[in-house]
């Protein structure tokens, strides 16, 4: 087994058994990066100097016999919309091409305190707006399974980095599916926690009421471990919930016997590829063979979720992105007449087309005369969507759907038609609107490309999702496959 193919918990075991040092592990990661990054382009910034210091600190602590957290010493990557003190944080945008935050996001701080080794900041769709990472101002990240295809978005860089063995796990952010869809496209486990589970302080906001930070891992146990390290109440985030600390690996291996699984018909309609549907339904059968009960259910308002999403998310982002005006930080246009012109020129040159489109859509939805028909209406339909999920969860332990309508598409295939691109999110978006947790796990392959299956859970019931996902992966073994990207970090273990 190549070192870079290990899961994070396997790497952690090696560290604890002193088979490997963190410095060795980190050097392996950088060797791998050197070998494949030219083809994958997952990273915007590499932080080797700092990473090696973090790795040595771990090794010193181990020598002293200290008891260290599970994630300590393991190389990981952060999506470039999470602030890192003293390190470039671009959000994939020209607008922040030179922005160096003077503070750490809460998750950054928590990971540092856990002894994590941060190897770099990953590429993303600009300001987290996109489903393919093609909207980055800097580079297009390639899917390690087929470098002519997209890795998904907006957390494409974080997904690709893990799938390519450049980092053992990573963090992404999910507003409408931006962790789950790339996880599906790259054969990883990706989780969007319950809204309020993980602090958003230091996450550059896209849509405040929908954004959540979550992990990418090669298997369910990795995700559970990372969830434990990043979850928790944060007094700096008024929307973070005050719940006692949770061990997300607890009960993970308890199996699915007796669980009731809802299969919403609205998620299996037109717009979803037949092969994906078939594979997910096969997954349902596998669950039944393990003692769960699957039933068809209906979530009628789910068909409106995309519209609701594109009103609420864009409205919030139009406001969240208004601070980018060239006055205090970031890009400033070189020529202007007066401050108003400076704002206009800076914003027009600093933002890409998709970002501008969403700002315009959001501004329109909130503007005088349209607020009731759009924004307020969106908030009301949100209530309907949320209620339907709550009702379903009265009877079912979790809900099973495809993650994305298809496998990873070709680079350039959808980038000309915004609506078509938005359709990629059709299965994931209802989850963010309701605020419930969900994850994507690989359930099979089509033409060598990973297919993802989505598990949606009750508020704060990540444990059930992880348990069900774990059972599935142990039974199917799909997660053990790795993208065949030859090169570097050839050391075996």
């Amino acid at each position: 087994m190549k070192i870079h193919d290990l899961t994070a918990h396997e790497a952690g075991d090696r560290l604890r058994e002193r088979e490997l040092s963190s410095v060795e592990l980190t050097e392996e990661s950088y060797k791998r990066i050197e070998a494949v990054e030219g083809r994958v382009e997952a990273f915007i910034t590499l932080t080797k100097e700092q990473a090696m210091l973090q790795a040595s600190a771990f090794d010193q602590a181990m020598k002293r016999g200290e008891n260290l957290p599970d994630l300590a010493g393991i190389p990981m990557a952060l999506k470039d919309n999470m602030c890192t003190d003293g390190i470039l944080t671009t959000c994939g945008s020209r607008m922040l091409g030179n922005f160096v935050p003077p503070y750490d996001a809460t998750v950054t701080r928590m990971l540092k305190e856990s002894g994590a080794v941060i190897v770099g900041k990953t590429n993303m769709d600009e300001f987290a707006m996109g489903s393919s990472t093609e909207n980055s101002a800097f580079k297009i990240t390639k899917n390690p399974w087929d470098t002519e295809r997209v890795p998904g978005g907006s957390s494409g860089g974080s997904a690709a980095a893990v799938a390519a063995g450049e980092a053992f796990y990573s963090l992404g952010s999910d507003t409408g599916g931006s962790i789950r869809q790339p996880a599906a496209f790259t054969g990883l486990v990706g989780m969007k926690p319950t809204y309020g589970r993980v602090s958003r302080y230091g996450l550059v906001a896209f849509a405040s009421s929908l954004d959540q930070i979550g992990p990418f891992g090669k298997d369910v146990e990795d995700c559970a471990m990372v969830m434990g390290a990043i979850s928790g109440h944060d007094s700096k985030d008024s929307t973070s919930v005050n719940r006692p600390a949770e061990d997300f690996t607890k009960g993970m291996k308890d199996g699915v016997k007796g669980m009731r699984i809802g299969i919403p018909k609205e998620f299996f309609g037109e717009g979803i590829s037949e092969e994906v549907k078939a594979m997910v339904l096969e997954g349902a059968k596998l669950y039944e063979s393990m003692g769960a009960v699957c039933e068809e259910i209906s979530l009628p308002s789910a068909k409106h979720a995309l519209s609701v999403y594109y009103i609420l998310a864009t409205s919030e982002c139009s406001s969240n992105l208004a601070r980018f005006d060239g006055a205090r930080f970031g890009y400033r246009a070189p020529n202007y007449q007066g401050f108003k012109d400076m704002f206009i020129k800076t914003r027009s040159a600093g933002f890409g087309e998709e970002v501008k489109r969403r700002i315009m859509l959001g501004t329109y939805s909130l503007s005088s005369g349209y607020y009731d028909a759009y924004y307020n209406k969106g908030l009301k339909v949100r209530t309907l969507i949320k209620r339907e999920f709550e009702k379903a969860f009265e009877k079912y332990d979790f809900i099973l759907t495809p993650t994305a309508p298809s496998v990873a598409f070709q680079i350039g295939e959808k980038s000309d038609d915004p609506l078509e691109m938005y359709m990629s999110d059709i299965c994931t978006v209802p989850v963010n609107i309701a605020g419930v947790p969900a994850l994507s796990i690989p359930c099979g392959f089509k033409d060598g490309l990973p297919v993802g299956m989505q598990l949606i859970g009750k508020f704060f019931d990540e444990a059930t999702l992880l348990r069900a996902a774990y059972s599935f992966e142990q039974a199917s073994g799909v997660h053990r496959q790795r993208a065949q990207l030859a090169g570097g970090g050839e050391n075996e273990i």
Binding site: T239, I311, S318, Y331, I344, K356, Y364, V381, L419, F459
Partner: protein, 95 residues
């Protein structure tokens, strides 16, 4: 079209964005297509339904009125595109 070029110009003003003439029509079309899709919400009956502002039912999150040392001015200004005399510098604000 769900939205006209004039509408786009008005919204652009509100959002402090500008588009070149040649991009305006294409942009208007794409934006119009999205708005056309969203307009399907008109069909949804929301009689008696309250809006949901927040996914969670949390209320009353406050902090105590305690002050902590502020951030060093150098750090505050470290990303300023232009600064002078310890302040952020912008073109003159007409009053």
């Amino acid at each position: 079209m769900a939205i006209s070029v004039k509408d786009v110009e008005h919204v652009a003003k509100l959002a402090h964005l500008e588009f070149e003439e040649k991009e305006k029509i294409g942009f208007t079309e794409k934006l119009g297509a999205v708005i056309g899709y969203i307009d399907k919400l008109n069909e949804v009956d929301v009689e008696g339904v309250e809006p949901t502002n927040h996914a969670l039912e949390i209320k009353n999150v406050f902090r105590e009125d305690v002050s902590e040392p502020s951030m060093d001015r150098d750090k505050i200004l470290q990303n300023a595109p232009a600064k002078r005399s310890g302040c952020f510098e912008v073109p003159r604000m007409v009053d």
